[in-house]
């Protein structure tokens, strides 16, 4: 087993930006990703996508092709369909691929695990036919699949509008948007407008406005200020969506997508013990990072959405910033002008972020849902049981897990974790940092008992 200069985990924009630069400068780099090819969620399938599908997905998607080509030419060792199921603080990374389990080691880790969609616990969110909007978009990118029949997109965040526009481009018209953003969001966002007009901010705002205009021009119904959302089966294979907007609504649909923004995917970082910070603006935890994007562990850098959601361009640039910091630590010469220029470019791309965060805040009722709502999809634990346990003295997420089994299922608390922390903070009257988080246990990705047994070096 040889030791890599760096292992990069995740081949989205951040991992691609980081691994390319590291390899181009002569570092020994291993890039791993669980999907079959480079691109991450944003550029998923970029190397294999048919032209007709790429046209639907738009120019931001196509922009990935050049970066992926650069990665291929960089000399980085690429391991796709490969899952990092355990990462140890000394730089050991345990991998799983078609050949089984193996161990790699690196002097530096670049964690680029991206973002995940915030869970959307509302009545009926576990019904078949209800998925995340990100999930629907994956079906479009990866497989060219578009839902047939009336579709409601419920929630808030740029992805709602982007996916709606992609549906329109693909010819889908039986579409309704149910926006959960509060009317006050615009007002709260206003103070952040001046900054959003700097750097690349206007381009982001123009893009958003373009999407809205496209929807309006197509005559797509948009319900605003939607509250008290609930989903039920219609008894005929379809779904009924109820909500309070301007009056009470009851829509019959064949499929519903939910989305309340994306949050950093921090499972791996937490397993390493990286220090986490709560962002009230982003309503999410993110790892503490220094200027070089180094986490609280000296040899673990974090780039892209995993460090704080900023989108593809920010991720790409952060990958490069982290790569330059790692190169310097490896003893390579790095041009300080290039470092500062990359930092400036990153800041320019982040200009509109504070405005966007405030425009698309998740509704409070989705953070601490009503009692009857299932919080833990795996173990089917409802918010009411969690509230009762907290009221009886449960100290936090780990005790809730011990007493109620929430977070013990196969998803390992990825989905219910945010809800457990929010309910703890709310009921115990403590900050999100004080509320704590489910202790992350290996394996980080599914591994079978047989696969692990094969690693035993001797007869027990």
């Amino acid at each position: 087993m040889s030791r890599w200069d760096a292992i990069v985990i995740g081949a989205g924009p951040a991992g691609i930006g980081g691994a390319s630069l590291l390899a181009e400068r002569g570092a020994r780099v291993l890039l791993v990703d669980e999907t079959p090819g480079p691109g991450g969620q944003i550029w998923r399938g970029i190397e294999t996508v048919p032209e007709s599908r790429a046209a639907i997905l738009g120019p931001d998607y196509r922009a990935g092709a050049a970066e992926v080509a650069r990665l291929r030419a960089s000399g980085a060792t690429l391991a796709f369909s490969t899952e990092a199921w355990r990462v140890e603080p000394d730089g050991t990374v345990w991998l799983r691929d078609a050949g089984g389990l193996r161990r790699e080691a690196a002097r530096h880790l670049l964690v680029a695990t991206g973002a995940m969609e915030r869970p959307v616990p509302l009545p009926g969110w576990t019904l078949p036919g209800v998925t995340t909007i990100g999930g629907l978009q994956i079906l479009l990118k990866r497989e060219g699949l578009l839902p047939r029949g009336p579709l409601a997109l419920v929630g808030t965040g740029p992805l709602v509008y982007l996916y709606a526009a992609q549906c329109l481009t693909a010819g889908k018209r039986d579409l309704v948007l149910v926006d959960t953003a509060r009317p006050g969001a615009m007002l709260a966002a206003l103070p952040h407008l001046p900054r959003a007009l700097l750097g690349h901010g206007p381009a982001y705002l123009a893009k958003g406005a373009g999407l809205l205009w496209q929807l309006r021009r197509a005559g797509i119904a948009v319900h605003t200020n939607a509250r008290q959302i609930g989903i039920e089966p219609d008894g005929d294979g379809g779904l009924v969506l109820r909500f309070l907007g301007r009056g009470r609504h009851r829509l019959r649909l064949s499929r519903i997508g939910l989305h309340e923004g994306v949050i950093p995917e921090t499972h791996l970082l937490r397993s390493l013990g990286c220090r986490m910070l709560w962002s009230a603006a982003a309503v999410a935890f993110h790892p503490a990072r220094d200027r070089d994007l180094c986490s609280s562990l000296g040899h673990v850098h974090v780039a892209g959405d995993a460090g704080g959601v900023g989108g593809a361009m920010v991720a790409l640039l952060e990958g490069r910033i982290a790569a330059m910091a790692i190169l310097e630590r490896l003893g390579h010469q790095v041009d300080p002008l290039l470092v500062s220029a990359t930092r400036r470019a990153r800041r320019a791309h982040l200009a509109a972020r504070p405005l966007i965060e405030r425009l698309y805040r998740p509704a409070p009722e989705l953070l601490t849902p009503p009692d009857e709502v299932v919080a833990c999809r795996c173990e089917e634990v409802r918010c009411g049981e969690i509230r009762a346990s907290l009221a009886a003295g449960a100290a936090g997420p780990n005790q809730l897990k011990a007493f109620l089994r929430c977070g013990m299922g196969p998803c390992q608390g990825r989905i219910c974790g945010p809800t457990l922390a929010q309910l703890t903070a709310r009921i115990r009257g403590v900050t999100m940092e004080e509320a704590g988080w489910l202790t992350v246990r290996p394996p980080l990705r599914p591994v079978s008992v047989g696969e692990i047994a094969a690693l035993a070096s001797e007869e027990p």
Partner: protein, 104 residues
Amino acid sequence: MPFIRLDPPTPEAGPELFFEGRPLRFRPGETVAGALMAAGVTAFRETPVSGAARGPWCLMGACFDCLVSIDGQDNQRACMVAARAGMKVRRQIGARRDAAGAGK
């Protein structure tokens, strides 16, 4: 409700897998989840806790709600497995049985 396949049509005789014993055509490149959803399947499993019906939620391997049995291997994430011709896919009903061996 099924999904529309956007890519230019391929010849009628594409590969097939079997879902609950009945043949189901898919396109190369589709995952098992994609193939089932395209065919209009919404409920992929019944939970071991309450027996509730579930289907895919995240479609990126994180939520474990799209579990199916594939060629006798239970609890497989349909969204992470590429569809292959001849594959036998069944709904995952309750807890996995394959690991129970002769004792089940």
